[in-house]
């Protein structure tokens, strides 16, 4: 009895600890995969954010080259970190469209002047509606869209140097 009592606290702790560990491992998949992968790009019509670049209109670009769609914001630090990789992708021939989330023209201009401008089009998504309809839960995220306008891949978080070949391969496959 006494022995049992002495070791009971440790036993209780081990049980609770195991449960918490389980709870921590379970939702560690916090990267929310979009349900949109494998589905056609939803119809988006976003006004241009910069005077010298088109906005996003999916009905006009539904067919043609495979493209990448980068969800970003000038206030987002990982977006700064991934900027060189986006430039690399552009040099490798990728066509990159962008959705600027909760942003302003001036901020984005400054951001692009500083970090380089890999984008063909930039759509203005002040209300985060397009981001939601893409099933994207944060910035930055990058979608690969094939020539038929179907989302074939989603990259969550900043693109690191080692992700570039993978994304290029996805783009190649999407032709």
């Amino acid at each position: 009895m006494k022995k049992l009592l002495i070791w009971l606290p440790l036993g209780l702790f081990v049980i609770v600890f195991a449960l918490v560990v389980n709870g921590l491992i379970e939702p560690s998949d916090r990267l929310v995969r979009s349900a949109m992968v494998g589905k056609p790009l939803p119809a988006l019509r976003l006004p241009p954010l910069l005077p010298d670049k088109d906005g996003i209109d999916t009905s006009a670009t539904r067919s043609g080259k495979p493209r990448m769609l980068n969800v970003f914001a000038s206030w987002c630090i990982p977006c700064v970190a991934e900027a060189p990789q986006l430039m690399k992708l552009k040099q490798a021939g990728a066509e990159i469209d962008a959705i600027a989330v909760r942003d302003t023209t001036g901020d984005v201009q400054a951001f692009l002047a500083r970090n380089g401008d890999p984008y063909t089009r930039i759509g203005d998504d002040r209300a985060m509606r397009a981001q939601l309809s893409l099933g994207s839960s944060g910035v930055p995220e990058t979608f690969v869209i094939d020539s038929r306008g179907v989302i074939v891949d989603q990259h969550i978080g900043d693109i690191r140097a080692e992700d570039v070949p993978k994304l290029l391969a996805a783009l190649e496959k999407a032709k």
Binding site: W7, P9, F17, V20
Partner: protein, 641 residues
């Protein structure tokens, strides 16, 4: 360069912590610990100096808005007022963990400087245990959350600080809680050392007591301030939400309160030895659990910050290591701790045991309620536990605890009679009964629990000053004064909670400019709504003219604030404090037809909640002053002898 200097200081502090652990352990094992102890003391000081240096460097980086440091870029903004730039240093994960370990190191230095009563071996083991805890957190900083990481290229400006956290109260809230958490780590180290050295007795309890008291004071202040922050900042009119982050600060407080009472039994009567050791371990466990819950973001909460599983795992591993280790040590060694002094069923000791049991039950209930969503999630069910659960479980037990708080101090140590207790309790019981009848009639019987709380509060207030009865006030020892003030504070706080539940009045309506609303005895006129700007926000501000009867009106200006970086919106409640309560006003959205939503409360005597919390902390301070003074006297006498 300065960020690198900070990193270097952090590494040096780590090195000293390792040295402190090894030398401390060696000293504890050596026959003559006194010689080596001097070295351990010095190393503990050096560790603290370097940890503090690293933290000051981080503050400097934030103060100068050095955006080439990742942490600064993520959490600061050059437009922010200086106070929040500095507070930004610990308003984020990495900085707050650095603060944690800095406080830990400084506490270790405090032990090494001021502790003279304990046997050399036990003190060396205490410092070694303290270093072992610190090493884990240094590793955490170095491997999972380096606060000095650089960002290349540096951004033009930072991402700002969450505007909800731009508030003077909150700037000092986390440090206060951390001081409490870390104070409990010292109690934990004492307990581990006492177990290791088989040195459990009054001397150990007396050495531990000021640290427990100090930690408990900070926790009390932290909880009180956090409650007031949530009250005025969230704009929901409530003062406690049973939110996981709030529970994370409540649980260590409950454990520390139990420990505070049992350590007194050990120090004065040499009873409850194993019990006190266990509580010291539990109290620090709750600090670790609190840190883990807040910092891993594992639970959904109104306060939730970004989620990072690696950090959560690392903290959890530390928690498992320290607490599991301490409990295993407890299991292995507690058999060698001989039983202390015993006592009768009706005695001060028994009342304190009851206090401990009830506090443990409340702690258990809160812990289960806080962690249950995790367990459910593991089983694939999404749920959250809200106020109804805690109100149904914790509140009734807390009421029993309040009754015990009234009776306990009126009992004698070791042995007393039930009859004597009842006669001493006559007046408080009568007051409770009369006020129950009175307020039950007054409130119309809507919320009987709140009436019971209010009546008990009056009874407790009477009972808590009773220990001063027939004493010479000037010769009453300070710790007794501290107890009286703290218990009185509990009564005051309870009265505030009950009064808010029973008598608050609320109005919610859409109002056009020029129209008036009535809430309680007040007439509130919406005079104007106009835009206004602050340093990094813009806002819509309502001007409300509030008037009670024919007395002079005053103006309140609740706001809807829009922050640009990051883009968020907060509602700033406007509150006025009168002698008998607060008027609380919140501006909502326009309804599209020229009217504005207004939410108004009249909350009689609600301020007593936090005034009571302040009194409790003041009671702790008085007791601490008394303990330190007598400890200092004892040390001086020893030096003379």
């Amino acid at each position: 360069m300065i960020a690198e200097a900070g990193l270097a200081a952090l590494w040096l502090a780590t090195a000293f912590a390792i040295a402190q652990l090894m030398l401390g352990a060696a000293a504890a094992r050596a026959g003559d610990a006194a010689m080596m102890l001097a070295g351990v003391r010095r190393i503990a000081l050096l560790q603290a100096v370097f940890a503090l240096g690293a933290f000051l460097i981080l503050i400097r980086l934030f103060a100068t808005s050095d955006m080439s440091v990742l942490l600064v870029a993520q959490n600061s903004h050059s437009l922010k007022p200086m106070l929040y730039k500095i507070a930004g240093a610990w308003g984020n994960h990495e900085g707050s963990m650095l603060l944690w370990v800095t406080v830990l190191a400084v506490a270790g230095a405090g032990v090494s400087l001021f502790e003279r009563r304990l046997a050399a071996g036990t003190l060396a083991a205490t410092l070694a245990a303290q270093a072992a805890i610190a090493i884990g957190f240094y590793a955490f900083l170095a491997f999972a959350s380096n606060p000095f990481a650089r960002l290349n290229p540096a951004p033009a400006d930072g991402q700002g600080l969450n505007p909800l956290l731009q508030d003077p109260g909150l700037a000092f809230h986390p440090p206060t809680l951390y001081l409490g958490y870390v104070g409990l780590s010292v109690a934990f180290s004492f307990a581990v050392a006492a177990l290791l050295m088989r040195d459990v007795g009054p001397a150990f309890a007396k050495a531990m007591r000021p640290w427990v008291l100090g930690a408990w004071i900070f926790l009390t202040i932290g909880i009180t301030a956090g409650s007031y922050w949530a009250y005025y900042e969230l704009g929901w009119g409530g003062w406690w939400f049973w939110d996981p982050v709030e529970n994370a600060s409540l649980m260590p407080w409950l454990a520390a309160t139990a420990l505070l009472h049992s350590v007194n039994v050990l120090a004065t009567r040499d009873g409850l030895r194993a019990w006190t050791l266990m509580l010291a371990v539990v109290a620090f466990s709750m600090s670790m659990v609190g840190t883990f819950l807040v910092r891993s973001g594992i639970l959904v909460s109104v306060h939730a910050f970004a989620v990072d599983p690696t950090r959560g795992s690392f903290l959890l591993a530390l928690l498992g290591l320290y607490i599991g280790g301490a409990l295993a040590l407890f299991g292995a060694r507690v058999g060698t701790v001989t039983q202390g002094a015993t006592f009768q069923l009706i005695s001060r000791e028994a009342a304190l045991v009851l206090n401990n049991l009830l506090l443990s039950v409340i702690l258990g209930v809160v812990l289960i309620g806080t962690l249950y969503p995790l367990v459910a999630q593991a089983m694939g069910v999404q749920l959250s536990i809200g106020a109804p659960f805690f109100e149904k479980t914790a509140v009734p037990i807390a009421l029993a605890l309040v009754a015990g708080t009234a009776a306990g101090p009126l009992l004698r140590w070791r042995k007393d009679s039930a009859q004597a207790l009842l006669s001493r309790l006559t007046i408080p019981v009568a007051i409770t009964g009369v006020s129950f009848a009175l307020f039950f009639a007054l409130s119309g019987g809507d919320s009987p629990i709140a009436v019971v709380v209010l009546a008990l509060a009056f009874g407790l207030a009477a009972a808590s000053v009773a220990p001063l009865w027939k004493r010479k006030l000037r010769r009453t020892p300070l710790p007794i004064w501290g107890m009286v003030v703290a218990h009185l504070g509990i009564a005051v706080s309870l009265a505030g909670m009950a009064a808010d539940t029973l008598f608050k009045q609320e109005r919610l309506a859409a109002v056009a400019v020029g129209d008036a609303l009535h809430v309680g005895p007040f007439k509130v006129l919406l005079a104007d709504v106009r835009p206004t700007v602050g340093p990094n926000w813009s806002a819509m501000e309502a001007r409300l003219r509030v008037q009670r009867g024919t007395s002079a009106p005053f103006e309140l200006t609740p706001q809807q604030r829009f922050f640009s970086s990051p883009p968020t919106n907060t509602s700033e409640a406007a509150i006025v404090t009168l002698w008998d309560g607060q008027v609380y006003t919140v501006l909502g959205a326009p309804d599209g037809a020229g009217r504005w939503q207004l939410r108004l409360w009249w909350k009689p005597f609600v301020t007593l909640i936090w005034a009571g919390g302040g009194l409790v902390a003041l009671g702790g301070l008085i007791a601490l002053a008394g303990r330190l003074r007598s400890g200092w006297r004892a040390a001086r006498e020893e030096a003379w002898a």
